[in-house]
Structure formats: structure tokens, C-alpha cells
């Protein structure tokens, strides 16, 4: 997970208009996006597609970025959450997806292997992500960002638009609930 306290990008809005600004943004945040996806998706082809979708969504919604609501990395995590939530809804309805950029089409053997390695490395994160299903949606989102993605409480609160104090209260309650359903190995991630 990249550091959510890094200085704000000078002008996020420019990534929608300036290819060079986009490239700077892409290189800075690609690892964050790929790890975020790998913690939630075990299929490398789908992971490639979703990585493309997240950056497309960031480009198309760049004008909505507000510096007072968090650093660019936190904003991008918020965008990624919406993209993956949309994907999971589509899957549940078994709808065919037409993608503007087919990430899997761009994969070669070496790139596929790197994604598979990343997915394998995030195995525990996905187990924890699955365990959070026992929580109410609002608390689950907060636990995802803190326990699965490694954001600070303050950064996660900014992503979700809640006060840090409120987030700490919810986290305390959620940890107790999730630990009751986790296997011991995954509990280490929470503590």
C-alpha cells in the first residue's frame, strides 16, 4: 500500500486532459491499485481488467477530486472501491461486461505471472476480506481499508467521509466481531 500521507498531486484534474500528467499519476499509484485489486480478486485476467477500469474511472471522474477530502491516493482508493463494487454486482447478476479497455488482452506470459504472484502474496488479505462479510456494509468498508489495505484510520475515514473519532469507535466494535469468526492465522493481520 502506498503512503496515504504523500503530498497531494499538483492538479488531479489535469490527468483527464494531459497524457503526461496521467502517466505521472499512473506510475505513482499503479502499485496501490494492483494490490487493492489483488486483495479482492483471485483471477489474474479479471485483475488486469479491473486495474484498467479503475484508472479509466479515475480519469473520467478526476474533476470530482477535492483536496480537502483527502490526498489523491485516498481518493483513488475510493474510486477503486466503487469500481469493484460495481463489478461484483454485475457478477451477481451474471451480466456480460463490455469493457472500454480489456486489460486481459494486454497480458503476456510474464505479466500474467507477475499478477499471479501478487494475487498469491495477498492470499491472507483476501481471506480477511471474505471474513468481513459478517459486518454491516458501513463497518465492513472501514475494516477493509484499515485491516485489508493498510490505510491509517484517518486516511480510511477520509475515503469514507466520516470523522476519525467515529471511525475508531466503529473499528473497535468491528474487530471484536470479526475476530470471533476468523481462523488464528488471519487474526494476526488484525492485531
Amino acid at each position: 500500500m502506498s503512503d496515504m500521507t504523500t503530498p497531494a498531486h499538483p492538479d488531479i484534474g489535469s490527468i483527464a486532459e494531459d497524457p503526461d500528467a496521467l502517466e505521472m499519476f499512473y506510475r505513482e499509484h499503479l502499485d496501490t491499485v494492483q494490490r487493492f485489486v489483488a486483495r479482492r480478486v483471485a483471477d489474474p485476467h479479471l485483475a488486469a481488467d479491473l486495474t484498467a477500469e479503475v484508472f479509466l474511472a479515475a480519469i473520467d471522474s478526476a474533476s470530482s477530486y477535492r483536496p480537502d477530502r483527502g490526498v489523491p491516493a485516498a481518493w483513488l482508493v475510493g474510486v477503486a472501491r466503487h469500481v469493484l463494487a460495481t463489478e461484483f454486482r454485475r457478477q451477481s447478476r451474471d451480466r456480460a461486461v463490455q469493457r472500454r479497455i480489456s486489460g486481459r488482452r494486454l497480458l503476456d506470459a510474464d505479466s500474467l505471472a507477475r499478477i499471479e504472484e501478487r494475487i498469491d502474496a495477498e492470499r491472507e488479505g483476501r481471506a480477511l476480506y471474505a471474513a468481513l462479510a459478517s459486518l454491516p456494509e458501513r463497518d465492513r468498508a472501514l475494516m477493509e481499508l484499515v485491516a485489508v489495505d493498510g490505510l491509517s484510520v484517518t486516511a480510511a475515514a477520509a475515503v469514507l467521509g466520516v470523522k476519525p473519532g467515529t471511525a475508531r469507535v466503529r473499528l473497535h466494535r468491528s474487530r471484536a466481531r470479526v475476530q470471533s469468526v476468523l481462523v488464528p492465522r488471519t487474526q494476526e493481520v488484525l492485531s
Binding site: 502517466e23 486495474t51 470530482s64 466503487h82 497480458l107
Partner: protein
């Protein structure tokens, strides 16, 4: 950071996307004339702010309406949020701090609101309803007065199904 083949290819496609989208957006803005109409329905004690979009087909169509009620509630009806730059300002005029986020392809099932279940679900939940070809929701005076912020996620417009592209939820306040 060094990029592998996939990452470099994806970067190339994304750069092309940025180059391709810029003239399209500019043309769309030139095609759509925007004017702000402010009206009052005095008899009902209701104030209405509506953004009106001139369409290529000729007749104007309201993009959204923000109506303050005598009891302090605010009723919002959304028809089209594509490029509706003044929507947040219209809500701010009613004391609502709103944050509009465009997420391409965003959708949710008809009649299903992304709601916040806070301390008091009766005031934190926001119900969406299809009305008059638009999507309508009521923002409670209690949440507005408590300083809650309204998060709106939308894909913009969806002429075939106005119920699908918008989600709204409170954050902060007592929610």
C-alpha cells in the same frame, strides 16, 4: 517505477483514452446550453431550483430539481447529472454539503438506495423512488441541520433507465 509489458501497454491505452476524450467533452459542452432557473412555488411554500439543459432535440429538459419544503426537508429530483456542475451549489444553497462523484458505468438495481444506517435509521436512510421519469429522494431536515454531508455517486446520465445511475448516502452528523 519500471513497468512490465502489461503495465506499459495499459499506460499506452490510457494515454490514448485521455487524448480521445478531450475533444469529445469540449464538443458536448458547446452543444449543451446551460441556464439556471430559480422559481418559487409560493402557494405551497416550496422553493425550487432547477438546472435546465437545452438539448440538441430542441426542447429544454430539467436536469434536476431541488425543492425545500415548509418542514425543512429538501426533495431532490434527478433527471440527468451529466455535466451538472451547479448541482452541488444548488444543494449548498439549501444548507446541504454534497459531494458528487462521477464513476463511469456505476449502476445499482432499481429502487435500491445505497443507504446509511446510523444511530437512527429513520433519519439516516435515504429512499430512492422513480417519479415522473426521474429519480427522487427526500433529505431530512434533521440531517441537514446536524451538518451531515451527502455523498452522491453517479455515472451521469442514462436515458433508458434514470433509476440506475445514482446512489446517495449521508455521512457525518448522526449517521
Amino acid at each position: 517505477m519500471s513497468l512490465d509489458t502489461f503495465e506499459q501497454s495499459l499506460l499506452g491505452e490510457l494515454r490514448q483514452h485521455v487524448v480521445a476524450r478531450t475533444p469529445v467533452r469540449s464538443a458536448a459542452r458547446q452543444r449543451i446550453g446551460v441556464r439556471l432557473a430559480v422559481g418559487g412555488l409560493a402557494a405551497a411554500g416550496v422553493a425550487t431550483v432547477a438546472l435546465v439543459l437545452g438539448s440538441a432535440a430542441g426542447g429544454p429538459a430539467a436536469a434536476y430539481a431541488v425543492e425545500s419544503q415548509p418542514d425543512g426537508d429538501v426533495v431532490v429530483t434527478v433527471y440527468d447529472l451529466a455535466g451538472a456542475d451547479g448541482f452541488e451549489a444548488a444543494l449548498a444553497a439549501e444548507g446541504i454539503r454534497a459531494h458528487l462523484t462521477y464513476v463511469p458505468g456505476f449502476s445499482q438495481d432499481d429502487g435500491q438506495a445505497r443507504t446509511t444506517t446510523g444511530v437512527d435509521g429513520a433519519v439516516c436512510d435515504i429512499a430512492l423512488a422513480k417519479v415522473d421519469g426521474g429519480l427522487r429522494f427526500t433529505l431530512g431536515a434533521a440531517q441537514i441541520d446536524a451538518g451531515a454531508e451527502l455523498d452522491i455517486v453517479t455515472s451521469g446520465s442514462s436515458p433508458a433507465d434514470v433509476g440506475s445511475p445514482v446512489a446517495v448516502a449521508w455521512s457525518g452528523g448522526s449517521c
